[in-house]
């Protein structure tokens, strides 16, 4: 299984730009936003957590469609499916690798983008922690979307449609946690724990559902 992780990471480095595409998309969303809202720094600060989360969420959806489609095109998927390892574990590792190469760079880029949105250091810290806890869930849910659309030549759009509604709760709790960290009466811990719970929950359900899907979509 470590071999799979190593291969996925190597591939995403060699194929080039996987991490960078996400970060650039994130940058595009975040940097365009102040132009649309106008030079009101107070308003920007207020909106910053939401903008950062939306940017990260949309950026995380990029590349999900290639997760299994690429494996299918070169015949690797048959071989991955045939092995004695539980398929769900294989998918779990693929999701982890995908997150490491696309989700983690987003988390690391957050401080820079937070400054662009006039977010306080505390806010930046809270955003990073919630993104760190929440973005893996997008990858786990994304495996289901990727498995459903594995045979479709243009699966990207379908994945977004399938995955977006399912990741809304993470967005709600993620932003709520940041607001909780910045403003006094609102709590930080409970929404943050919800984010963690969703990630743990989807880390099991997502790969399991995707493995059932992949087994039945054989052709």
């Amino acid at each position: 299984m470590f071999a799979l992780l190593k291969r996925e990471i190597l591939l995403s480095i060699r194929a080039g730009g996987g991490a960078l595409t996400g970060v650039l998309f994130f940058l595009a969303v975040v940097s365009v936003f102040p132009f649309a809202v106008g030079p009101d720094t107070k308003l920007l600060t207020h909106l910053a957590p939401a903008v950062l989360w939306i940017g990260a969420l949309l950026a995380s959806l990029l590349g999900l469609d290639r997760l299994f489609a690429q494996e299918r095109e070169d015949g690797s998927l048959d071989l991955l499916v045939m092995q004695p390892h539980p398929l769900a574990i294989t998918i779990f590792i693929k999701a982890i690798a995908h997150w490491l190469m696309t989700g983690l760079p987003l988390v690391l880029a957050t401080p820079l983008f937070g400054i662009m949105l006039n977010l306080s250091p505390l806010g930046i810290g809270a955003t990073m922690i919630t993104l760190l806890a929440g973005t893996p869930a997008i990858a786990f849910i994304g495996t289901v979307g990727a498995a459903v659309s594995v045979k479709l030549p243009r699966g990207g759009m379908l994945i977004s449609v399938l995955v977006l509604p399912l990741v809304i709760p993470i967005l709600i709790f993620g932003v709520a946690a940041i607001t909780g960290a910045l403003e006094d009466p609102a709590p930080f811990t409970s929404p943050f724990l919800f984010v963690c719970a969703i990630t743990l929950f989807t880390s099991v359900i997502g790969p399991l559902a995707a493995s059932v899907m992949l087994r039945h979509s054989a052709d």
Binding site: R14, D74, G75, S76, L79, M82, A218, D219
Partner: protein
Amino acid sequence: MKLIIKNLGLTRASQAIVSDISFKLQAGEALIVTGENGSGKSTTLRGIAGLLPLNAGSVKLLDETGKQFEGEMREYCHYLGHQNGMKPALTVRENLDFWQKFCGNADMTIEEALDEVDLAHTIDLPFSYLSAGMKRRVSIARLLVSDRPIWIVDEPTAGLDAHSVKMFTNLCKAFCAGGGILIAATHLPLGIETEKTLEIGR
């Protein structure tokens, strides 16, 4: 080891492709599946390998005492389909190393396996640099780096030159001599003494 296929029936898109395929293979035997284009050779092989749900019939793998093997058929097979299952961005060594570790039961080293297919010099080249025939030979080397008792190969010699076909035939002979079961869809006779044939017709 004994492979028993009984009354196999497979459908694709709710259309029956093959039906009533039955055969038995002992350890060391080979089955050559022939048939016209579109007659269902690949479908049959994929069904046996467990990549397609069976519509009818059964695939059983028994050991010497007649007991059924634990686990699924697919766990005991090497499958070589039309595609090579290799990543163009990785080197030949990285590709084979991954499949060896992922499939387990390491047999030959990567260097030895590449030597068998005369590609030792390409070990550090990216897979995408190789020609079609060389790519095919690398994926044949994949069958050698980890040990599986059954090989299911679909048009294994597509793109290979005469010399490489001979080399592959020899590898198949050695595999069967070592007690393996080979199922191959090919138009060329492999020249294995224990060769059976199955013609899929319409």
